[in-house]
């Protein structure tokens, strides 16, 4: 509950519930900082150490040593004076590797960036989980897009022959197109604040900052709790980029239910938009007052019911990777499985559509059905222009269909093969009483309560995740799900699809289904996706995300095209309303400087450090999409979209003059610092701060 009195504060602090952190961070941007702009110091060297947002590689620039990289022969050697790893040509090439085990998802595509100097002979090759990239024989920074293979979860550098060699530096591996990565206090680059204190409550008590860089002042330091990042949103495209990593279940909008299905006129079908209250069909997608209605007469038989024009190639850049479509639908009569199909087409009016059958629907009930579209080829999904419904069977009735928003998601979150598509590869089934059946696994009652699990997942401990799964054919017993060895979900004993929000524990990186001895039933359709941490997930969906802000920063892994485009960024607010717009037009500054928040600066449409939100919004549950008005010429360039909670701001007025704030008496606020908080600094430069300028300081934390 925090401090109850000054006496309580004195008692707790003098009993040791206190931590002082001394820090130093360098502004190391690729150019001198511009007056009036904001910069992210996460990438800056110092104490804590530098970090590239979203990088799955630890110690990406070998800055202190080669830890935790591993070499298998002495042909790879670390040079402390230059912070570089070099392979010297040697006949041991077949067994000579430089590698690091990452927490990745097998089957997912990642952007791999690295720099080679001193390339020799046949050069070097990078691989990801056994998937090899292009062999490089020249000196440059290289980018490979690799699907994590099944061999292991390593990033590995090797030489293709005895003559191959070279020096490796600046290695990054990031999920592409914005999969959300939550941060905690053990994430690389976090400022340490004393560890977990629950059930106590931790507060920041004092902060002091100073600089010896005359060009570094006046400036403002903003201490934030970085909640996580959507890494590498491309700047070389003007298409909408959906940031689906946050929540694959609610997913990304394919089309909404607020516009009619009027691409074509279909006899015996009337398409309209209706108010849910007036129509008596409240429910469906959260917060939408209207939905699409299709009124069908009993003379209608089969075929296209309705369709609407969309432009997914530009409005949903990544739909080509869609694995699932989530469709909010309601009918005023029960429908059998296969009576209806969902259709997409790259021709107008569903002229040659790809169709997926809908499951059975109960009468007068909004249902969010999940459709597996992974079987459609990418060439059938890359330029979709028409979506709609077909009647497969003639139900010989007059009935209504209501459609709300339709979403899509491209994967099973952090899992591999969550749908058990044709096998159970990727899963560990504890003993013989778990068995693969047909697109699911089945457990028979057994005294052995071993788990069904996946290990070494790319999950962040202490952070919340949404796990969805389906139980079918259950005849006895219960099953629950847990992550990281943390607190398990409620035990489930009824057939159905469940959404469980659980916090990843600190024991491991494993998702596990744990049955009781009597559980008999099937598990299928498992998805596990991260939620934004440390913003009251227990209040979902009403106020979760309150106080969360967002910004984006030029990705330090690559040079960036100077992006003077405007930006449209959509997000889901603290009340769960999705596709909210930024509160103003955002004009990016033309910049190629790492660390820079390009939406900040001086002039119209510049905002910093945070992107303004729509009227009445005060928080963010997830960032939905981002779109630049123009594409930059620099291939592979990008920004990282960061979500954070501001903690405290401190202005530094003068070189050598410490800016000190007592947050108990002088500015009474006692900012809360949650367990797992990733504390880091943003800086607003009032001077032309040169690269290498140091900002030092301390933070005091206490808890009760």
């Amino acid at each position: 509950m925090g401090f109850t009195s000054i006496d309580n504060f004195i008692s707790e602090v003098t009993s040791g519930k206190f931590w002082r952190n001394d820090w130093i961070k360098l502004y190391n941007g690729s150019a001198t900082a511009t007056v009036g702009n904001w910069y992210d110091l996460s990438q800056g060297a110092g104490n804590p150490i530098q970090y590239l947002h979203g990088n799955l590689v630890t110690n990406y620039d070998f800055v202190t040593s080669m830890q935790p990289w591993i070499v298998t022969t002495a042909s790879w050697a670390y040079t402390p004076g230059t912070h570089l790893m070099t392979r010297t040509a040697n006949a041991d090439y077949a067994t000579s590797f430089l590698y690091q085990t990452l927490r990745m998802t097998r089957g997912q595509i990642y952007q791999v960036v690295y720099t080679i100097s001193g390339a020799a002979g046949t050069g070097l090759t990078v691989s990801l989980g056994g998937t090899a990239g292009t062999t490089r024989t020249t000196n440059a920074r290289f980018v490979d897009y690799l699907v994590c293979g099944s061999t292991d979860k390593n990033i590995t550098f090797s030489a293709p022959s005895a003559t191959g060699g070279g020096t490796i530096d600046l290695v990054s591996v990031k999920p592409i197109y914005g999969g959300f990565i939550p941060y905690n206090d053990l994430t690389e680059g976090a400022m340490w604040h004393g560890g977990d204190v629950t059930p106590d409550t931790k507060h920041m008590i004092n902060i002091g900052t100073f600089t010896n860089a005359a060009a570094g002042v006046p400036s403002i330091l903003e201490l934030v709790d970085v909640l996580g990042v959507y890494p590498h949103v491309r700047t070389d495209t003007l298409a909408v980029q959906t940031l689906y990593g946050s929540d694959a279940y609610s997913g990304n909008t394919l089309t909404n239910g607020e516009t009619p299905y009027n691409e074509q006129v279909v006899t015996n079908v009337t398409s309209s938009i209706v108010n849910k209250v007036t129509e008596g069909v409240t429910g469906g997608d959260t917060g939408h007052t209207v939905c699409a209605k299709l009124a069908i007469t009993n003379t209608f038989t089969t075929g296209i019911i309705a369709s609407k024009a969309v432009a997914l190639a530009t409005t949903s850049y990544n739909y080509v990777y869609a694995k699932y479509v989530y469709l909010w639908i309601r009918t005023n009569r029960a429908m059998n499985a296969g009576d209806l199909s969902f259709c997409t087409d790259e021709s107008a009016n569903l002229a040659s559509s790809q169709d997926v059958l809908l499951p059975a629907l109960s009468a007068n009930t909004w249902t969010k059905v999940r459709l597996d579209v992974s079987g459609l080829t990418t060439t059938d999904k890359d330029t979709v222009i028409s979506v709609g419904l077909k009647a497969v069977n003639d139900v010989d009735a007059t009935y209504n269909i209501y459609l709300d928003d339709i979403y899509w998601a491209n994967w099973d979150g952090v899992l591999y093969n969550g749908t058990f598509a044709g096998n159970a590869i990727g899963w560990t089934m504890g003993t013989s009483n778990w068995a693969y059946r047909t697109n699911d696994v089945e457990r028979t009652a057994n005294a052995d309560v071993s788990t069904l699990s996946q290990t070494l997942l790319p999950v962040t401990q202490k952070c919340p995740y949404r796990v969805t799964f389906t139980i079918a054919n259950r005849s006895a017993g219960t099953v629950n799900v847990s992550l990281g060895g943390g607190t398990a979900s409620a035990s489930r004993s009824v057939d159905g699809t469940y959404e469980e929000i659980i916090t990843c524990g600190t024991t491991n990186y494993t998702l596990a289904f744990t049955p009781d001895a009597t559980f008999n039933g099937r598990i299928s359709h498992v998805i596990c996706t991260p939620l934004i941490p440390r913003c009251d997930v227990d209040t979902l969906p009403t106020t979760y995300g309150g106080g969360v802000r967002m910004y984006y920063v030029l990705d330090g892994a690559l040079s960036n095209g100077a992006n003077a485009a405007t930006t449209i960024i959509k997000y889901t607010n603290q009340a769960g309303l999705d596709h909210r717009s930024s509160g103003a037009t955002i004009n990016n500054m033309a910049t190629d400087t790492t660390y820079h928040l390009p939406h900040s600066g001086v002039g119209a449409g510049k905002f910093g450090p945070f992107i303004p939100m729509q009227s009445n919004d005060y928080g963010i549950q997830k960032v939905d999409s981002l779109q630049f008005s123009t594409a930059q010429a620099t291939a592979d360039a990008g920004v990282d979209v960061v979500v954070c909670k501001p903690i405290v701001s401190v202005p530094i007025t003068t070189v050598y003059v410490a800016a000190e704030r007592d947050l108990m008496n002088q500015l009474p606020s006692l900012p809360r610092v949650r367990d797992g908080a990733y504390l880091m600094l943003l800086i607003h430069t009032g001077g032309a701060t040169i690269a290498g300028s140091a900002f030092m300081g301390y933070c005091d934390f206490a808890w009760s």
Binding site: I6, D7, F9, I10, S11, V13, T14, S15, G16, F18, W19, R20, D22, I24, L26, N28, A45, G46, N47, P48, I49, T58, N59, V63, T64, S65, Q67, P80, G81, H83, L186, E188, G189, W192, I205, N206, G208, F210, N212, A213, A215, G216, T654, V655, Y656, V657, A658, E660, D662, M664, N665, Q666, I690, A691, G692, S693, A694, M696, G697, Y698
Partner: protein, 292 residues
């Protein structure tokens, strides 16, 4: 542990559980703007600290605490805290100026900064099978930081790193740090002004490390010139002067509520980051400690 503000103040000022030390440090040696200096080596009160000890040997001088800022002796089982700290920089080089009050724990003297071999520190007496010295306080290493201070003139501009055992008993290597070119004794050579690989006042540690238990070795990658001592300290409190001839006064219960704990045996002294040479410039101060 103190139960209340009233008991703390009553014990301190009615029952005599307090001590005020007076500080007057005047460095005879010059310094350079923006580089941290170790005022323990300056003359005055308390007496200068010369980092006497065996070559590269972990050293904790006997009764070292008596030679630092005196804080009132041992009070265990009671707890002692820093209550107030006043500083006066008598000229503009000391005002504005940030200061760090540190508990000096242990040091490794006589490091040859011209030697580009890895120089092993002596933490263990292999002959008698004994540890030499270990951290006398903060024994788990949590929060303990390191700096390298010049004990002889040097040239600077070299890179170095240290290998250390962190608070989790893991052996790690620090970030590589570029030394400054101050050349002056008493300057913290790992502190620096703007530039890549330039930090201060402490040597940046490896990923995730929050303290040092002991230091294994030091390696210079170029010749730097001079001799130095590697010092392990626990930062206690920060303060700063803002205007020459104007006292900076801080109450660590009221102004910067942190009640910095002072352990029995603590050797207290100050680091500073002046804006020019501090040679012959007096720094005056008072430090009040209380316990209950």
């Amino acid at each position: 542990m103190s139960n209340s503000l009233k008991s703390l103040i009553t014990d301190a000022y009615e029952n005599g559980k307090c001590h005020t030390s007076y500080i007057r440090k005047v460095s005879p040696i010059a310094s350079v703007a923006g580089y941290w200096v170790d005022l323990s080596m300056a003359t005055g009160t308390p007496t200068p600290n010369y980092y006497v000890g065996g070559e590269k040997e972990a050293t904790v001088p006997l009764n070292w605490y008596k030679k630092g800022i005196w804080h009132g002796g041992s009070v265990s089982p009671e707890n002692k805290i820093l209550h107030k700290l006043m500083l006066l920089g008598t000229t503009s080089v000391f005002a504005p100026c940030p200061f760090l009050l540190c508990d000096y724990l242990m040091y490794y003297p006589l490091i040859d900064m011209d030697n580009t071999d890895t120089q092993q520190f002596v933490n263990y007496d292999a002959v008698d099978n004994l540890s030499i010295s270990t951290l006398p306080r903060y024994t788990d290493g949590v929060g303990v930081q390191a700096f390298l201070v010049a004990t002889n003139p040097y040239v600077g501009g070299a890179q170095f790193q240290i290998t250390y055992v962190n608070s989790n008993n893991q052996t790690h290597v620090s970030m590589i740090t570029t030394t400054n070119t101050s050349t002056y004794i008493g300057t913290i050579v790992n502190s620096n002004t703007a530039g890549i690989g330039k930090y201060g006042p402490f040597i940046p540690l490896a990923l995730g490390d929050i303290g040092i238990k002991k230091v294994i070795d030091i390696t210079f990658f170029q010749t730097n010139g001079g001799l130095a001592t590697l010092v392990l300290v626990k930062p206690i409190a920060s303060t700063m002067t803002k205007e020459a001839t104007s006292w900076a006064e801080f109450d660590f219960i009221k102004d910067k509520p942190s009640l910095p704990r002072i352990y029995d045996g603590a050797y207290l002294n100050l680091l500073a980051m002046p804006s020019g040479t501090i040679a012959t410039i007096p720094l005056l101060g008072e430090a009040t400690f209380i316990w209950d």
